[in-house]
């Protein structure tokens, strides 16, 4: 539909925001129709760029008065379609709310606006010797509000936990238009952990307007090891052995043969291209423990036939991480498109599930690369394809479903860090019973009784009646 100036919704929105911060041109709405997932065809209503909590409240109020849903959006780098607008909702974009509001280095707390970029925060904290622990691979662009929405992870969340463990409080605009602080940034408040329920709610409980994040001290000592193996099995078993040995490294990342080759070709990080798999292990902390754990990790790798390279300085460490973090970049050399999956399996079942992934991909005649957070058991198989090949998407989706089923079969879960969004909404019944899903819908209704915040995501059809309308009207092409 067209949004004209005389439209009552537009009139109300323009009372709240200057006209250059409410955008309605068809083009601007259509480019807001997608995020970094493969889902196309979403369609935004008015796109709002508030700069304050009051303006967000005004946008939410206006949307409510006119019976329109609200979709919060950060940098639009989500991989599960969480920010894809369905049914022309009011889209509230956080990118202009990107300031660091305060830093308390003594208490190790910072208040940030939701549009602040993850890496910008850690850069701003560098002079204090502090950082924000969650480091998603998209950290140079993803917003902290988005991190809260998806409860984002990253390589360095193994020992320190994902976003939820690093958010002390969130200021949230509820769909009633009220602004409320969930959690406590400095002290302790009795009551339910509303903050915990909010983090990871994918924009379905309200709109984040400020976040109090917990800051982590930079470690005094770091050791980074690059382990190379002749077989994926040996690599996966080494990962399990390290965990079983009682070591909790800062990060354990694994890459298989195809991705090693592509990365070497792309950045030249010095990875051994003849290896079947490499594992990057980083241990940090005080020097004694770091040295002992690094030695033990090396020992466990050698026992399983691995070769060990230890980064001798920060430059070599940076190069190894550059290789890991450029992995997605390297993929374009092989196929133009990829579909990145994100399941988690118990760490003792890693080798077994990886073998299943290879079999599944073979069965569907696709190519796969694995580059993932092995220490958490968080698989990231990348299915490579050329979207122009007829019928290819059916095979990609079929293989994806089979990988999800294989992961759940060994006691795994649907998503480790990307979230459910649109992508895995209809897989939810594979993991949760009707009663489980009903309980999640109750949480949602307690926050948002009218179900106006980001409808159509996470909870599958039937879990909640009000979502059905949005679900029935997913524009053609949303399923990629």
């Amino acid at each position: 539909m067209k949004f004209r100036k005389a439209d009552p919704l537009m009139r109300d929105l323009r009372r709240v925001l200057p006209s250059d911060r409410v955008r309605v041109a068809p083009l601007e709405r259509s480019i807001m129709g997608r995020d970094a997932s493969i889902f196309e065809g979403g369609r935004a209503g008015p796109v709002c760029f508030p700069i304050s909590t009051e303006e967000v409240q005004g946008c939410v109020d206006a949307a409510r008065r006119h019976g329109r849903a609200v979709v919060p959006r950060g940098a639009g780098t989500g991989l599960a379609g969480g920010a894809v607008p369905l049914e022309e909702p009011v889209v509230v974009v956080a990118t202009k709310m990107n300031r660091l509001l305060s830093v308390d280095a003594e208490q190790r707390v910072a208040w940030v606006q939701p549009g602040m970029i993850n890496l910008d925060l850690s850069r701003a904290l560098a002079p204090f010797g502090l950082h924000f622990a969650p480091d998603p691979s998209s950290q140079q662009v993803c917003s902290l509000g988005g991190n809260v929405g998806t409860n984002a992870g990253g390589p360095h969340c193994l020992a320190l936990g994902v976003t939820s463990a690093h958010v002390l409080a969130a200021e949230v605009v509820l769909m009633s238009g009220e602004s409320v602080v969930l959690g406590d940034a400095g002290g302790w408040t009795p009551g339910l952990d509303l903050r915990g329920a909010y983090v990871g709610s994918e924009g379905m409980l309200g709109v984040t307007t400020a976040i109090a994040v917990r800051l982590t001290r930079n470690p005094p000592a770091v050791e980074t090891l690059l382990l190379a193996f002749d077989s994926v099995d040996a690599a996966a078993q080494t990962v399990s052995a390290v965990i079983a040995d009682g070591i909790v490294p800062a990060a354990i990342e694994m890459m298989d043969k195809n991705i090693i080759w592509a990365v070497e070709n792309f950045v030249g990080a010095g990875f051994p291209t003849d290896a079947a798999a490499v594992v990057i292990v980083e241990v940090d902390g005080l020097p004694g423990g770091v040295a002992a754990e690094a030695d033990r990790v090396a020992e466990l790798a050698v026992e399983r036939g691995g070769s060990v390279r230890r980064a001798t300085d920060d430059e070599e460490r940076a190069l190894i991480w550059k290789g890991r973090k450029s992995a997605f970049g390297a993929i374009a050399q092989i196929k133009p498109n990829y579909y990145l999956h994100d399941t988690v399996v118990p760490r003792t079942r890693l080798a077994e599930v990886m073998n299943q992934v290879y079999e599944i991909v073979d069965e569907h005649d696709l190519q796969v690369m694995n580059v993932f957070h092995a220490g958490d058991g968080n698989l990231h198989p990348l299915l490579l394809y050329d979207g122009r090949e007829p019928g290819i998407m059916d095979r990609v989706h079929a293989a994806g479903s089979a990988i999800i089923e294989a992961s759940l079969a060994v006691g795994g879960v649907l998503s480790g860090e990307h979230g459910i969004g649109i992508e895995k909404r209809d897989f939810m019944p594979l993991m949760f019973s009707e009663a489980d899903l009903d309980a999640q819908a109750r949480l949602r209704r307690a926050f948002d009784p009218e179900e106006m915040a980001n409808p159509g995501k996470v909870l599958p059809t039937g879990a909640s009646c009000a979502d059905v309308k949005a679900l029935d009207n997913i524009p053609e092409g949303v399923w990629g």
Binding site: N151, G191, M204, L286, N378, S415, G419
Partner: protein, 280 residues
């Protein structure tokens, strides 16, 4: 209906009426693969039993080991361990819970793996819920390696200065005069950090002081005349006081959210009547 655990923190958040039917959650370790570093236990399992089972494998869970208390009890009450500063918060200890809902159905929230963002985080919502949203039956906890060495020190030093100087103490407590610090980790690291603490005026000691009975926000200490003794858990926002203090009124919007959650999860008020998480 209410679940009774070890009755160690039975009064927190209010009293159940006498006619309340009391039930016990199943007890015992259900599954434990040390290599996965997760453990599945019945909520009625005593925390000490859990701790002993994990200790055999050189592991521990991040729950306060209160004598006589049950796993479900400490989770429902949600009070952090003394070591929350270094080991993390209690709310982050659980991976999955199975609870009985108001309609008698079993509900699973969270998932068995160490990382999981599938669906809403009901697990954390149930932390500190005093059983008012559901009755905990079974939980999966993340476990951690037991450190090789540990050491308590205490002395009249500035707790803020101490925190600034040390890398990762597991606990710093301060009663207004004396500061206690707990170190754990690799032997040589504990030794070197202990040296550092000594240089700031602390000496080795047997253990932490006993905790005053009531938990408050550190902010509460700054309000009004202090009465009785207190102990601040540095870096966590929590403190313990010997005399109860009035709980400041919560934001009406927060109270409304609590009411709506209660009416969604337990519309007939069957679960743990008489208890209110906001009063805890």
């Amino acid at each position: 209906m209410a679940v009774v655990g070890g009755r160690t923190q039975w009064e927190i958040g209010g009293q159940c009426p006498e006619e309340t039917r009391l039930v016990r959650a199943p007890a015992g370790v259900r599954a434990f693969d040390p290599a996965d570093m997760t453990i599945r236990v019945g909520a009625g399992t005593p925390v000490e039993e859990l701790d002993a089972a994990l200790a055999e494998a050189g592991q521990r869970a991040n729950l306060p080991v209160l004598p006589g208390a049950t796993v479900g009890g400490v989770l429902a009450v949600g009070r952090d361990d003394l070591h929350a500063l270094g080991r993390g918060r209690l709310r982050d200890a659980r991976l999955e819970v199975v609870y009985v809902g108001d309609d008698g159905r079993l509900v699973t929230a969270g998932g068995p793996t160490v990382k999981n963002v599938s669906g809403f985080d009901l697990c954390r919502l149930l932390a500190g819920s005093l059983g008012t949203l559901g009755l905990l039956g079974e939980v999966i906890l993340r476990t951690w390696p037991r450190p090789a060495a540990q050491q308590w020190l205490a002395g009249p030093c500035d707790p803020v200065e101490l925190r600034r100087s040390m890398y990762w103490p597991s606990s710093i407590l301060w009663d207004g005069e004396i500061t206690w610090v707990h170190l754990e980790g690799h032997e040589s690291d504990v030794k070197s950090e202990a040296e550092l603490a000594r240089s700031l005026g602390c000496e080795p000691t047997d253990g932490p002081p006993s905790l005053p009975a009531y938990r408050v926000s550190t902010g509460a200490l700054e309000v009004g005349q202090p009465t009785g003794s207190y102990l601040v858990q540095i870096g966590t926002g929590m403190a313990y006081v010997s005399e109860p203090r009035p709980i400041p009124d919560a934001d009406p919007a927060v109270v409304a959210l609590h009411q709506r959650l209660k009416s969604e999860f337990d519309p007939r008020g069957r679960l743990n009547p008489g208890r209110d998480p906001l009063a805890g």
